[in-house]
Subunit: 215 residues, 2 copies
């Protein structure tokens, strides 16, 4: 044991700090040397354990998703026994906390948001394994609120509306920090923002539901 920090093996430490640095800097601007420096391992370790910077990135991304689902599981929301409005509120709260939890997941979700905004080859697998299931769950809830089977395109547009209202807190974080910092000041503020999005969306959806019955 040559390193004082070597409680975790080098492989795991690399993965962990890769998430950190890739999230802060993006794939290209992140340097192998910076990751290794923080992980307290030699520069050559990346190529020894991961073959290349690119596969390290891919594995870091997968790791980030695993952590996100571990810390913020969707289990409770999948329960179809609950009223759909409550499930939607829970879904949005879960999503927003996932996005804005700086203490645990901030870096993970930032890494993911980065990949969505500026995709690499790794995106396709992520869409398959992580995004499609989440979208399916949200689509099911929306369909339930809208009532009688609705045009698929309308469900998709509503889904994007809700998705966008949450994601803006991550993607436009720089603007919110400067103009409306009180909206995300602490956990209770985030919770209030989440509830606002839920109320906003439920109000819109139930209006659509009415039109749906009439038409």
């Amino acid at each position: 044991m040559t390193k004082s920090t070597a409680i975790e093996p080098a492989f795991n430490r690399l993965l962990q700090f890769a998430v950190e640095v890739f999230a802060e800097c993006g794939f290209r601007e992140a340097t192998v040397r910076e990751i290794c420096s923080r992980a307290n391992v030699n520069v050559a370790s990346v190529n020894y354990y991961f073959r290349s910077k690119e596969t390290l990135y891919t594995q870091a991304l997968a790791f980030a998703f695993r952590e996100a689902n571990r810390l913020y599981p969707l289990d409770a929301i999948i329960n179809r026994g609950l009223p759909p409005e409550q499930r939607l509120t829970m879904f949005i709260g879960n999503f927003l906390h996932k996005l804005l939890d700086d203490s645990h997941l901030g870096l993970h979700s930032k890494l993911i948001a980065r990949e969505i905004a500026d995709p690499t080859k790794a995106l396709d697998e992520i869409i398959e394994t992580a995004i499609i299931p989440q979208f399916a769950l949200l689509a099911e809830i929306i369909q339930q609120i809208l009532g009688t089977p609705t045009d698929k395109v309308i469900v998709q547009r509503c889904l994007l509306c809700i998705f966008g209202q949450c994601l803006v807190f991550k993607h436009s974080r720089s603007i919110i920090d400067r103009l409306y910092p009180e909206l995300i000041a602490d956990d209770s503020a985030i919770q209030a923002s989440a509830e606002h999005i839920a109320q906003f969306s439920i109000a819109a959806l139930s209006r659509f539901a009415k039109n749906n019955k009439r038409g």
Copy 2:
């Protein structure tokens, strides 16, 4: 005249292709050599005309905003004579077309979206000169729909909801392209998406307006 493409002077060509390359690659991944190659000028020209890569980026960003406002002016929406619902619909349509117009502005808005998602030093000036005025206009329209003077925080949250519903089409373009390409297939599809966001938002806002009167 040593260059065949030198209808525009070198300075302007640099600015134009800087927008293109910075939008495609981001600030760091974009190379001065690539910009100069496309602009058909010598590598040294960037430092000759702009002192550094960084000031070229700043100027390219300002140029992108000027072009966006030139091609999609907000003039008609500022008119306070129109009903606020109509103004909101126009605002959203304007914004979404700005974001998704691949033929003219796609690169400009991508550059701007990039700067928001991953800010450099240039962001602060952009917020002052471009974002705050646009937010003020949208806030005014929202306030008008909500009726009797509303809590400022609620207006801000509604503003972010609408902003986010539009911006998701840019930031999550990679996902939409793969999962729901028909939503942005052509101009009429974009228009339909814009109208959906407007209806969704107006439905939510008018529900809030009711609660506002009662409370």
